[in-house]
Every structure is written in structure tokens, then in C-alpha cells.
């Protein structure tokens, strides 16, 4: 699977891409694969503050519910509303069209401290 080089990753299997002060957050290919068929996505409303390391929503597969943790702190400025009707997109394109939220961050500090693509791939490799 192609894990974009420009993204950063977490051990909880989220990814982040940074464009100026806007961080886009999603779950990784590995995460969706572990979850299986995703049937629900619960996301915060625009304007909510999320805090690094805290749960901001959940994804639910046929088998289980799983929390999603914020990899960065900031205010939610956009939510991928399409996912509420088409949660299966998270299985199909987790690194692209099925991003979850966009967060306005206060500088790139949080982002830079996350795992690089090679570290993340090493991590999921070692995990399985």
C-alpha cells in the first residue's frame, strides 16, 4: 500500500497532512484493514476544539467500534460530511477522499513530532 511520503503518522494509526496551518487528519490503510468493513463514522462538528492525544470521534466496523485520536491540537474547520452516507469510502481510499477532519493548528510543532512514513511502516510491520 502507498503511504504518502509527505504525511505524518501516529501509533494509533491516524495520518496527518499539513498545508499552511491546516492539518488534514485521516486513518491509515492499516487501520481500515484491521477494522474491516466500516459502517459508521462519528465526527465532531465544525468549530469544535480537538486536543492532541484525545479521542475526537469513532469509526465503527461490522465487528467493532474504535476511537480516533487527534494527532494534533486545534479547531476543526472542516468535516468530511460525505462519510456519514458513504463510510465504506474509508475502506476504499483512506489516505485520500476519505479524510476525516481539517484542523487549524498553531504551528507545525505537533506535526513534526509525529512518525515519518518509514517509521510508521516499520511500526505496523513489527506489529503484525
Amino acid at each position: 500500500m502507498n503511504y504518502p511520503e509527505s504525511y505524518r503518522y501516529t501509533k494509533e494509526h491516524e495520518w496527518v497532512s499539513l498545508d499552511g496551518d491546516t492539518a488534514t487528519v485521516g486513518i491509515t490503510f492499516h487501520a481500515q484493514k484491521e477494522l474491516g468493513d466500516i459502517v459508521y463514522v462519528d465526527l465532531p462538528k465544525t468549530g469544535t476544539d480537538v486536543e492532541k492525544g484525545k479521542s475526537f470521534g469513532s469509526v465503527e466496523s461490522v465487528k467493532a467500534v474504535s476511537d480516533i485520536y487527534a494527532p494534533v491540537s486545534g479547531e476543526v474547520v472542516e468535516v468530511n460530511e460525505e462519510l456519514s452516507n458513504t463510510p465504506e469510502k474509508l475502506n476504499e481510499d483512506p489516505h485520500g477522499a476519505a479524510w476525516l477532519i481539517k484542523v487549524k493548528v498553531d504551528g507545525p510543532g505537533d506535526f513534526n513530532n509525529l512518525l515519518s512514513v518509514s517509521d510508521y511502516q516499520k511500526y505496523v510491520g513489527a506489529e503484525s
Binding site: V39, Y40, S58, V62, V65
Partner: protein, 380 residues
């Protein structure tokens, strides 16, 4: 984890096929291959293959074998004919479940029990404790692997692998013969709500038989299926799962399984307790529900009536065949009937649901097997 997970003889086959493995009651079992929903739909529309070798087997033999099995179980063993199987309950004296099992009558003096993997040791001990009939009770789980071939196309695929006329085996009957070149017990049973067979073979033959079924089913699009799909399939068909709908503190009457309890058959372990429970009246019973609000009521979630905790969800899941979120729950008897508004507490939020009739899914009537006599050209 300090204890080693147990493996079925097909463990290597699952790994090689890229199955996702999970710890299922101490067994390293495939939870899914191609994907839970895909596997589920394959079994509903075509044919799927499950490894259920973790299930336990207990053999009971002796001149009074029938008496022991009849005393240990809730269903009417005396009514079984040789070659017939029945779903039944193994109860404690207080009326709660030790396990739910399948009883196969192999001969007048020989019975074959298929029991749940995680209960097999205690089932064996339990039956031994009731054995005042001088029977031979054999723990036989290590002698059998079990493969379940399930779905509307299971019969056609399985038939290519045996000389035994499988269409002549009726639902909940079985025959011994040769399957895929090895000795096998072929039972028309299953845990999916579809037609199909559960095939018992020696563990050393399991991989051969698995591969033969996969090859034979290729043209019908057969897929290997995991325990994830097995669970959604059984739930849609409202088949009980030990540890969820049933357990030591739950009686078959409460679990809506009165049909496997034959109080008029004579004494059996747990009968007195059930008679008393019936006289006093039940306080709770299992009932099906469908989510009306957004969310999935999952196993263990609380059920509220008018805002007050009143029961719990035993199993809950999206139902792939129905496209709705379904579940089973225990409720006070007077509300354990279809049409009641209930709330399921999903992560601290009460979400609307409604009790509904069960089973949620029932397979379309299978066409009656063609009367072969009318097809055979007469010579006169």
C-alpha cells in the same frame, strides 16, 4: 498473553490464504478473509467454507447411552432416529445452560455430541457427573476436524466430492461415508441460516478436504469465510451464541428456546428448575430489536425502557443481508414482544430502537427435491 493459543489442523492453510486471525476463546481462528460483508453475502447467495474445527466432540456409547443423553439434555432424545441430529441444551440442575449442543444419533447405543469449543472440557466433566448409566463417555475433540460448507450452492458443490446422495439427507440428518476421498460424517446442519453441510473428518485429513472443497467450488465462486461472517449470519437467523444469548444464569425458557425443552419426556437435569420457573412465570425473555436511531446496539450495552435501565443487549450488529442494525436483548417479560419502543445506551447516549419479530432473516423455501421416480423412464 502467556498461554499459547490453540490451533486447528487448518491453521497453516488460513495463514497461507491471508486470513486475519484472532484469539477466539483461546483459539487462533480466522475472523475474516476477503471481508466480513463479502463473505456474509457469499454464503447467502452462493457458497462459503468455514473451518469450525475448534468445536468439541463427545461420544457416548453403551446399552443405556440413550438414557444418559436423554437425562443430560433438554430435547427428546428418544424421538431421534438413527442418522438424525437435534439441537439441544445441556443444563445445570438450577436450569441455566452448561452449553448448547448438537446431538447426533449414530446407533441405538451410540451418540455423537458437537459442543462449543470453549465449553468442551466442562461439558465432558458435566456429562461424566451425570453418568449413572454405565456409559462410555469419550472426549473425542482431538479425533475430529469440522468444516462447514454453507449456502444455497453448498449441496451442488459438496455433491461433486462424494458418492453419498447428499440431497437424500434431510435438514438435521447426517450420514457417514467417504467425502473427498476420506472417511467423513456429513451432517446437513449449520449455523448460518442457509442450507449446507457440516463435515467431520480426521484432523490429518482436514487440509486435503478443505482444498478439495475450495477446488470443487471454484466455478461457483466459493470463498473461505471467517468467524466474523459466521456471527452475522447466525445473528440474522437468530441462532443463540453461548456467552451471549445463553449462559449459566439463563434458562432455555428465558432464551426463547422452549422448543428444545421437552418437559413431558420424563426427568432430565434441570427439569425441576424449569418447571418451577414456568409455574412462577418468567421475569425476562430474549427479544429481537432493530435500531431506529443512528448507531449499533452492541453486545453488553444497556437497554432502557422510558429512560430506566431494564435489560441488556446480548448480540448486536449491522445485518448485511437486511441493511439494518439488528440485535437481541433481554427485557422484562411484559415488554419482550415485538412493537415496543426501547432505547439502547450507546456510549452514554440513549438511541431509539424497536423490538421486532424474529428471525430477522429466513431463507427462501428451498425447492422440493425433484421426485426422481417421475423422471426415470419406465421400461414398461
Amino acid at each position: 498473553m502467556t498461554t499459547e493459543l490453540k490451533r486447528t489442523p487448518l491453521y497453516e492453510v488460513h495463514r497461507a490464504a491471508g486470513a486475519k486471525m484472532v484469539d477466539f476463546g483461546g483459539w487462533d481462528m480466522p475472523v475474516q478473509y476477503s471481508g466480513l460483508i463479502d463473505e456474509h453475502n457469499t454464503v447467502r447467495k452462493g457458497v462459503g467454507l468455514f473451518d469450525v474445527s475448534h468445536m468439541g466432540e463427545i461420544q457416548i456409547r453403551g446399552p443405556e447411552a440413550m438414557k444418559l443423553v436423554d437425562f443430560a439434555t433438554t430435547n427428546a432424545v428418544a424421538k431421534l432416529k438413527t442418522g438424525q441430529a437435534q439441537y439441544s441444551g445441556l443444563l445445570y440442575a438450577h436450569g441455566g445452560f452448561v452449553d448448547d449442543i448438537l446431538v447426533h444419533k449414530v446407533a441405538d447405543d451410540s451418540f455423537f455430541l458437537c459442543v462449543n469449543a470453549s465449553n468442551q472440557d466442562k461439558d465432558f466433566e458435566h456429562i461424566l457427573s451425570l453418568n449413572r448409566f454405565d456409559c462410555e463417555v469419550e472426549f473425542a475433540s482431538n479425533k475430529y476436524a469440522q468444516l462447514a460448507i454453507q449456502g444455497p450452492k453448498a449441496l451442488g458443490v459438496a455433491q461433486t466430492l462424494t458418492e453419498t446422495d447428499l440431497s437424500a439427507i434431510r435438514y438435521y440428518w447426517f450420514r457417514d461415508g467417504v467425502f473427498a476421498g476420506v472417511p467423513a460424517r456429513m451432517a446437513r446442519t449449520g449455523y448460518t441460516g442457509e442450507d449446507g453441510f457440516e463435515v467431520y473428518v480426521a484432523p490429518e485429513n482436514a487440509a486435503t478436504v478443505w482444498n478439495a472443497i475450495m477446488d470443487a467450488g471454484k466455478s461457483e465462486g466459493i470463498k473461505p469465510c471467517g468467524l466474523g461472517a459466521r456471527n452475522t449470519l447466525r445473528l440474522e437467523s437468530k441462532m443463540a451464541l453461548y456467552g451471549h444469548e445463553i449462559g449459566p444464569t439463563i434458562s432455555p425458557l428465558e432464551a426463547d428456546l422452549a422448543w428444545i425443552v421437552k418437559l413431558d419426556k420424563g426427568d432430565f437435569n434441570g427439569r425441576d428448575a424449569l418447571v418451577k420457573q414456568k409455574e412462577k412465570g418468567l421475569t425476562r425473555r430474549l427479544v429481537g430489536f432493530e435500531m431506529r436511531g443512528r448507531g449499533i446496539g452492541r453486545d453488553g450495552y444497556e437497554v432502557n425502557l422510558e429512560g430506566v435501565p431494564a435489560g441488556w443487549v446480548t448480540s448486536g450488529s449491522p445485518a448485511p443481508t437486511l441493511g439494518r442494525n439488528i440485535g437481541l436483548c433481554y427485557l422484562p417479560l411484559d415488554r419482550a414482544r415485538p412493537g415496543e419502543k426501547i432505547e439502547i445506551v450507546i456510549r452514554n447516549q440513549a438511541v431509539e430502537a424497536e423490538t421486532v419479530p424474529t428471525p430477522f432473516y429466513k431463507r427462501p423455501e428451498t425447492p422440493r427435491s425433484v421426485d426422481k421416480r417421475s423422471e426415470t423412464p419406465r421400461s414398461f
